[in-house]
Symmetry: C2
Subunit: 149 residues, 2 copies
DNA sequence: CTTAATGCAAAGTATTTGCAGATTT
DNA sequence: AAATCTGCAAATACTTTGCATTAAG
């Protein structure tokens, strides 16, 4: 944890960004909730617990910066706000989104290589990243009634 | 085109929804722009050309209904609004999104079966649909400078 | 001391909702 | 006639922006 924070400080200072307590606080919240898929507002609420004077605009600006530095990835689960997780350049992973209860489940897997190769070849499109979401019913909901709403 | 409209009328009346000129007009715009990935607002503007009294709330409500009936699928390309396309239960297709110019390219392909099987087996998650987006650089942009902004 | 970053409040978008009146069945 | 649907405007939700002040390097 301390290591990650030092890493961020170095990344920032190297690029002439400043290492502020607010930026540190956002990173700490993210590190404490590694699988949280937190939204900006959720991060804001958590940061405020230790840092009551934090403003939401700073959270948004910090998140933008962390995405730009490729420390975070912005995700969209279709629930009306962006959510964030640490970029994982090595381990591609996908999301299972339950259509009934809305639960997010993470799946690791790198089975897209062949597909990527084909797409690159056929479309001359250079793939940098991908996002894969599966919608369906999680084990908890499968046995219950599947009707929405 | 006429066939699709009749189909919608029947679907609606069968489920005790009403077949209104507004709903018809939204469907017509979508049928005329099959690869448009139109947003609610773009649909609204197009509908207004022939139907100036249309209200934007009706567009949103109609799109919600069409998604609920599984006629449309709601997509998110991360540009701040939802976009819509006809559901394609047979031909799964994916989107290539250029990080530089923002162009969307559609790719057809059904290479995810193995991955789906594995996920279903390992997570007891019943997959109904998926959304796959590749981010990268399209052929037009590959040769140009890749720097963003 | 210089420049970037912050907090606040206001502004901007996209979307949703309440409701009276219009329309479909 | 009964129930749904519509348009409008107001409300909401998320995010961005302007600006005076504060803080980092």
């Amino acid at each position: 944890m301390q290591k990650k924070i030092t890493e961020l400080r170095d990344r920032l200072t190297n690029l002439d960004y400043k290492f502020t307590p607010q930026r540190r606080a956002v990173l700490e919240v993210l590190l404490k909730n590694p699988d949280g898929h937190l939204s900006a507002d959720e991060i804001y609420e958590l940061v405020k617990e230790n840092y009551p004077e934090m403003g939401i605009a700073t959270v948004y600006r910090t998140l933008d910066l962390l995405v730009k530095l490729d420390i975070l990835q912005k995700l969209n689960f279709g629930d009306g706000c962006s959510r964030f997780e640490f970029s994982q350049s090595e381990h591609h992973h996908h999301h299972l989104i339950c259509l009934k209860c809305g639960k997010f489940i993470e799946v690791r897997g790198d089975l897209l290589e062949k597909l990527e190769e084909m797409i690159t070849r056929e479309n001359q499109f250079e793939i940098i990243n991908h996002e894969l979401k599966f919608y369906g019913y999680c084990s908890d909901c499968r046995n219950k009634n599947k009707d929405k709403e």
